[in-house]
């Protein structure tokens, strides 16, 4: 275990012997990890290593074949998938997953409204609560989409949709942020924006970041886990992991250049 | 129920099931595989039966009549796809509901105009008109054995075509993402026209084949339509194997319910369907 991580930090999320099998394929095999509050935990690994699968289980989208997930010490693997979000576990998707027909603002409003309550209020107009709009706008501005707030989501470009994706997660004000390749498809500038954003956020939330953009991962992670073929390869500080020869072989490649 | 009656009913159930598969086969193709909601499927079944009658009256030959009817149905299929269905691929699925309901009206009206409303019948072709004794009283008509074999043949051919051939892959891919298929250099529009027309033709062929065993009446298509949908959906959308198993299942359930729980027999296939969908919300053989 990485010594740099001070032990007085709270364990926010923990997996114990987590397995996910698809038929014969062991997409995840006996993964035990701890995710600390106010830390950014990077997860990398070759394609098909099971990173998205892990996130999908942490957010309740898939049920584990075996093993358990603890949130603040309570086992949550059996609860309904929407209840994960209720407990403050929010996620973004690798494949853009938004409300294409609604405006960016409305996309975020749906997210904000969840925790503001009153969802079974049949009579109160959705437009009367300005707070909702404000929080939603704030989330959009954080990711740099403020100027697009009234644009219909399907009409903004792919990269912008990726930004919106993150804004929506932020808008739910989660405690845990599960980000699945948030930077994929974004331009350099936008990526920088997100990196800056994550730098700010990582001291406020427990963030799990899956990303193939190595610069970003190395820059952001407090801890880094490498997975290969559903197996846990190593976990530790960025420097230690980067120099691990097994990691180089399986994932980064020997060359100095990082693409 | 003694054993011999049980066996007879088993045969009846399978026979009915196979016939159902035949009628539903076109729908499996058009609706299950291609994803086009064609409510006028039943109408084409009806049109097939009427065409069979008409050409048997005029040519005297059942085989000839079957061929002519199939060709006419194929042409209707091409025309309908080219002029109407094609415009709707990009639109909401429900527009297909509206369109094909409009088509039902038109087909019904044309049937009434062209052929009147009297019930009609076609004689079993002479070559197949004998029967095999089953019990002291019951006989089993050779024609129905022929139909059963035909259904099995169609099922096998369809299964291979959809699941094993490149053509089948293209059709399935088209259901999933038309634009992408076109990006691979395939004329998806043409392909869809043809497959849709084949689906329509299968419906009409079912009507032709069923004609000698049933009565040809207005509205015969609408009665069978819902059952066809039941078959396709229980089987799981897009699965030929599923549709086949579901058709046999529905046939058996209906047959045995008729004799065992007659008070509930009309509800039975719906109860079975509800039950299956509650356990397997995507049908029996969904991918």
């Amino acid at each position: 275990m990485n010594t740099q991580v001070s032990l007085d930090l709270d364990v926010m999320l923990e997996t114990q012997g987590l397995c996910k099998y698809w038929g014969g394929l062991k997409a995840l095999d006996n993964i035990s990890l701890q995710f600390y509050d106010k830390q950014l935990h990077g997860i990398v690994g070759p394609n098909g290593a099971g990173k998205s699968t892990l996130l999908n289980m942490l957010c309740g989208h898939y049920k584990p074949t075996q093993g358990s997930i603890l949130h603040k010490g309570a086992a949550i693997e059996a609860i309904k998938s929407y209840a994960f979000a209720r407990r403050g576990i929010g996620r973004s998707f690798q494949k853009t997953n938004i409300y294409p027909g609604a405006t960016c603002l409305e996309n975020c409003c749906v997210a904000v409204q969840r925790r503001m309550g009153g969802n079974f209020n049949f009579l109160r107009s959705r437009y009367t609560q300005k707070v909702l709009d404000e929080i939603a706008t704030e989330a959009l501005e954080k990711v740099g989409l403020g100027h697009r707030r009234n644009e219909v989501a399907s009409h903004i470009s792919y990269g912008e949709q990726r930004q919106l994706e993150i804004a929506m997660v932020l808008a739910t004000s989660p405690e845990v942020l599960l980000l699945d390749e948030p930077m994929a498809g974004m331009g350099h500038e936008e990526s920088q924006l997100i990196i800056e954003l994550l730098k700010k956020l990582r001291r406020e939330y427990c963030i799990v970041l899956v990303e193939h953009d190595m610069d970003a991962v190395f820059e952001l992670s407090d801890q880094l886990t490498v997975m290969v073929d559903g197996q846990h390869l190593t976990t530790g500080s960025v420097d230690r992991v980067r120099d691990d020869p097994r990691v180089k072989e399986a994932y980064l490649g020997q060359g100095d250049e990082v693409f | 129920m003694d054993t011999s009656l049980f066996l007879v009913q088993l045969i009846n159930g399978l026979q009915y099931g196979l016939l159902l598969f035949l009628i539903a086969s076109g729908l499996t193709l058009v609706f299950g595989v291609m994803g086009i909601l064609n409510l006028a499927h039943g109408s084409m079944y009806m049109v097939g039966a009427y065409l069979a009658w008409y050409f048997v009256e005029h040519t005297g030959s059942f085989a000839l009549s079957a061929i002519i009817s199939a060709v006419i149905a194929l042409i209707i299929g091409v025309v309908v796809e080219r002029t109407l269905i094609r415009q709707l691929y990009r639109r909401n699925h429900l527009d297909q509901v509206l369109l094909t309901i409009g088509m039902i009206f038109v087909f019904n009206a044309l049937q009434s105009l062209l052929w009147g409303n009297d019930p009609l019948g076609v004689a079993v072709p002479a070559a197949l008109s004998s029967a095999v004794p089953l019990t002291d009283v019951l006989e089993y008509p050779v024609y129905r054995i022929f139909v059963a074999l035909l259904c099995i043949a169609i099922a096998v051919v369809m299964y291979f075509m959809i699941n094993k051939t490149r053509l089948g892959m293209l059709i399935r891919a088209g259901e999933s993402n038309r634009e992408m298929v076109e990006c691979l250099g395939i004329d998806i529009r043409q392909l869809y026209t043809i497959v849709f027309a084949i689906g329509v033709m299968l419906a009409a062929v079912a009507g032709v084949v069923a004609a000698p065993m049933s009565s040809i009446v207005p509205g015969m298509g609408e009665h069978i339509l819902i059952t066809c949908f039941v078959v396709v959906v229980i089987g799981g959308m897009g699965s030929i194997k599923g549709a086949f198993v579901a058709a046999l299942l529905v046939g058996l359930v209906d047959t045995f319910a008729s004799v065992l729980v007659p008070q509930m027999s009309s509800m039975m296939i719906y109860i079975v369907m509800a039950f299956i969908l509650l356990i397997k919300p995507q049908g029996l053989f969904s991918s």
Binding site: - | Q9, N12, N117, P119, G121, V137, S215, S265, S266
Partner: protein
Amino acid sequence: SQDSIKVGVMLPFSGVYGALGDATRNGMKMALQENAAQLHGRKIEYIEIDTEARPERAPEIASSLLSNSEADFIIGPVHSGVAMGMLKVLRGKDTVMIVPNAGAGPVTGPLCSPNVFRTSFSSWQPSYPMGKVALDKGYKKVVTMSWNYGMGKESLDAFEESFTAGGGEVVKKILVPFPKTEFQAYLSEIASINPDAVFVFFAGGGAVKFVKDYDALGLKGKIPLLGSGFLTEGTLEAQGNSAEGILTTLHYADTLDNDLNNKFRASYKEQFGKSSDIYAVQGYDTGLMIASAVNELKGDISDQKALIKALETTTVNSPRGDFTFSAAHNPVQNIYLRTVENGENKVLEIASPALADPGRGCKL
């Protein structure tokens, strides 16, 4: 000189019952045309509406004919469910309603009404005499079978009433869900019971399919098939050979040898290019009935009481033989025993002369 007489026609012209609607209308128009002289110069104006055999639309169409078109007569329907819907609106109203087919018992039973007439039959009528016929033939054990709806059930009950009264036994009563036409399972069951005879009520397309299946599965020739006459009405051509030899009872038969019938059949065939059937006759008699009532009132039908009186007392000189009306306004008529021979319903004998429906529950 006067306005024309408005005749509202509520029949199914499309769908499964379309053929019945067509024949009824043809017959009626033919009668009114032939008897135009009796109308005292009044023209007939038809308002025809397709009921699509949809009971839930019946009240609306009936009230349209009643208060929008202000029809003097409303003719219809074929389907019993529709009849109920019409009755709900028309009972006790000023307009005369004449039912040319629907046999539902209540129409001239508990729901009878002074302004409602029926020129066809009550479902009890054609089936009741068959019980006795079956007994005479020496059948002791019979299976009965029909669709599970009002008309079907009433027919089977009527048969059973007379059959069991004479010592017969109905060993099994099969009710097929309406409008299902998959009969194979039931026929297999009948074969395994192997009764002395089978009595059925089916009509239209279902009748065609039933008779063909009965033949195809080999039951024909082994177990005699008896039926309410609708089994072989308007369906013989489609049934082909399979229908030969079936025994049925009905208030009409093609080969009834009287002048009226011969003339009727010839001119129907001439006018419409196809053979007439019972539905055409019922329509024809409806026309006759209107004509004779108008004649009796010398063309003035404004007095409803008088009109009803005139209708009640007419004797209709029908191709089926003369008939009169019972107190409940149902025909009192002969029921014939027929058999199918060479594609025609041939009369064997009168199964029950001047049979009147008991009119149970009617307070008229």
